[in-house]
Amino acid sequence: MPGTFAVFAKRDCPTCELVAPVMGALAARDPAFKVYSQDDPAFPEQVATVEDDRELEAAFRHRIDIVPTLIRFEDGVEVARTEGWDAAEWRRITGIADLGDGLPALRPGCGSKSALPGVAEYLQVRFGDSGIRARRVEFGDYDDEVEVCFERGWTDGLPVVPPTDVRVLRMLQGTTRKPDEVVGLIPPNLAPCTVEKVAINAVMAGCKPEYMPVVLASIEAALEPEFTLHGLLATTYFSSPIIIVNGPVARRIGMNCGLNALGQGNRANATIGRALQLIVRNVGGGRPGEADRATLGGPGKYTFCFAEDESDAGWQPLSVARGFAPGVSTVTLFQGDGVQGFVDQRSRAPDELARSLAMGLNAIGHPKMALSQRAVLVLSPEHYAIFAEAGWDRARIEQELQAATEREGDDLVAGAHGVGEGMPAGMAGQKVPKFNPGGLMIVRAGGPAGLFSAILPGWIAGRNHLELQPVTKEIKP
């Protein structure tokens, strides 16, 4: 036989059991022949000395996907391999014309244990170069790694998943982007944030690898100048980024746009929003009490992310309204607060409901304030049905709400109705809209029962409304 041979096998593989006599025959002819057994060093019994590869190091180093795999080496270099049992191939590679006589001509092999889901990254870390460049933070044998994360100030107050090498490698599998690519400079410290740092923080947030493209798009959206992330994270006001996901990605990764869409319980919703917040905290240094000067803050600063319900063919999704083609997955980032609940269980006509919603919308920030805030209206299915049955589409609802939220300046000026807060005196005698054009975004979400909708008030920026805008980005792999 020219060269030397090795077979990679496991007992828990019928094809390996089938070719056990063949391995015995090869061992009898060639003392240098090796069998690497992945699950039982006593297998195959026909071979006196079997290499114990239960740690899978040999399988990793030889990139074994299938067992049995026969490899021929010449001068230590692999020159031929075959997977499974293919009598003709085994005979050609070994040069033994009658090898495996009496066995079937072909039998497919089984998966190598080194190719099981999740094992590749583990082996890469254990026996290879992980390629991870971020600094190692070591901890002691008896340290609780979750507590180490708390002590280092890496958490939002809830436990995080410790970013071990294996977890970070798996997270990086969720994107085609290179780990050392810089996504942007994260305020307030304007620290460069690589894809690898995103992956580390996504691990900590509890993300699955398939969420990575959504997290990356969210960061890119947040870093657009018109999103003003620095001001948002530092503001004394309640606001923080709210992420609204559109397109097929939402279903693919199992996001919630239905029952309790704005609440807890869905991993993708919860962890994508959290990953963005952890990146602001850990990479950018935006921590409460430091750069983050929120007077009260809000629960949305842990995480606030949901998907739009696009199940109604008559409804134009938010992403399409914002200029993206149907079927394109996007994130829209909005500078917003928590949920202001809106109840109307009696209005049945669309104009009646629009006037009613306007009352809720006019209350955001302060009922006497106007033109200083945006808002997202999350229309529940039952409220939407009232508009849809009347043939009102997105554009019509927006138009009607814009009109219905317009008020008499006399009621809004500072001092009116005995309240100091209010608009400049010069607005007396005018009609004053609550929102600048485009200042109200409508999204559909929610469970099937309940004549409730949600208003997500926006950040009071106190500046030209065009300097502070929501941002929509396409989600790319």
């Binding site: 971020a134 600094r135 933070v137 070591e138 180490v148 071990t164 580390i200 850990n282 240094g285």
Partner: protein
């Protein structure tokens, strides 16, 4: 013993890994100083003297401690002390 364990740093790595101690307060004026007896011999005499000097400066003190230096302080004990004081001086003696 387990093999070396580590995590990856989620920060931009601009600060040293070794964490800095909390900065001491700029002044003890108006603060309560805990005098923590770790349970070693003659710690009491040492802390009595420190307390005398602090009271000379009209600084409030709060005596606390644990029964023996051979055991760590219980969380309940530390929480009780945290309720009472602004800073703690730990007495080591022999």
């Amino acid at each position: 013993m387990k093999s070396p364990q580590w995590m990856r740093d989620p920060t931009p790595e601009t600060a040293p890994l070794k964490r800095a101690r909390l900065a001491p307060p700029p002044s003890l004026e108006g603060r309560t100083v805990g005098l923590f007896d770790i349970g070693k011999t003659r710690t009491k005499e040492f802390l009595d003297r420190v307390e005398f000097r602090l009271r000379e400066r009209n600084i409030r003190t709060y005596r606390c401690g644990k029964p023996t230096n051979a055991k760590v302080a219980t969380p309940e004990n530390l929480q009780k002390i945290a309720e009472e004081v602004d800073v703690v001086l730990i007495g080591l003696s022999d």
